[in-house]
Amino acid sequence: MSQPPSKPTVYRPLSPHLQVWKFHITMFTSILHRATGLALVVGAVLVAAWLLAIGLTASGCCPQAYTSFLTFAASPFGLFIWFGLSLAGFIHLTGGIRHLIWDLGLGFQLKSANALSWWGLLIGIALTIVFWVVLFATGKVVL
């Protein structure tokens, strides 16, 4: 850091890289919020594929599109992906609400910040479990 970079370019302060952190829960949930956000891109792709499959089947150009989508979506591997997406989704949801609370200027004391992080993580996991228990209990999903 004592020498200026030789190439004139645009400087921004970079985020600390993952390996420099000593574990603490706000750091972990912050990383998790990014990771789940990236994972949810797969979810957006799948929902877009679902909509496209309906449209292509309805238009008559690819009558098998919806069946092909369901074959994947209802397969054990597909269910595994949906489970991962629901976990990422619920954790990203509670993480997002936590960030919105912080953005209101609330919960910045160390104790409350840690508690918010823990509660967000645990509630996200609990919602995922409840969601899948309901899906199996109501017969919406069968293995």
Binding site: A44, A48, L51, L52, A53, G55, H99
Partner: protein, 124 residues
């Protein structure tokens, strides 16, 4: 030495927001708030459609209110996704125009696929 260099550097060279104020920050927050509601609705709808087959799914998408809400959900999702991906890129690869362009193109393809699907279903 380090402090004076950083002071000099931050005052002169760090990219400052020449064109934007809090716009993107606010957009990140408001898209989050909107998505809490919209994805909640989408999840509830998906629960209702599960196991109901193609005809039920098509009827759902063809309903004007659902088609509109699905399109709105996707537009805001893609906007939120692009801001999230760009934030990740900027934090670790601040000068990579290629990654930002890839994110934008990916989001555009995603949006076209989703809105195209809704349009085709709605018109059928």
């Amino acid at each position: 030495m380090v402090d004076s260099y950083l002071r000099e550097r931050s005052s002169k060279d760090w990219k400052k927001s020449e064109k934007h104020g809090a716009g993107e920050w606010l957009a990140e927050r408001w898209t989050s708030v909107a998505l809490i509601v919209l994805t909640g609705w989408a999840l509830w709808s998906a629960y209702g459609l599960m196991g109901q087959g193609y005809e039920a799914a098509l009827a759902f998408v063809k309903a004007p209110v659902n088609a509109g809400l699905l399109a709105l959900t996707f537009i805001i999702t893609v906007w939120h996704t692009h801001m999230g991906l760009t934030a990740n890129v900027l934090d670790y690869f601040p000068n990579s125009r290629a990654l930002k362009l890839i994110s934008a193109l990916f989001c555009l393809v995603l949006l076209v696929a989703a809105l195209g699907g809704i349009f085709l279903a709605f018109k059928a």
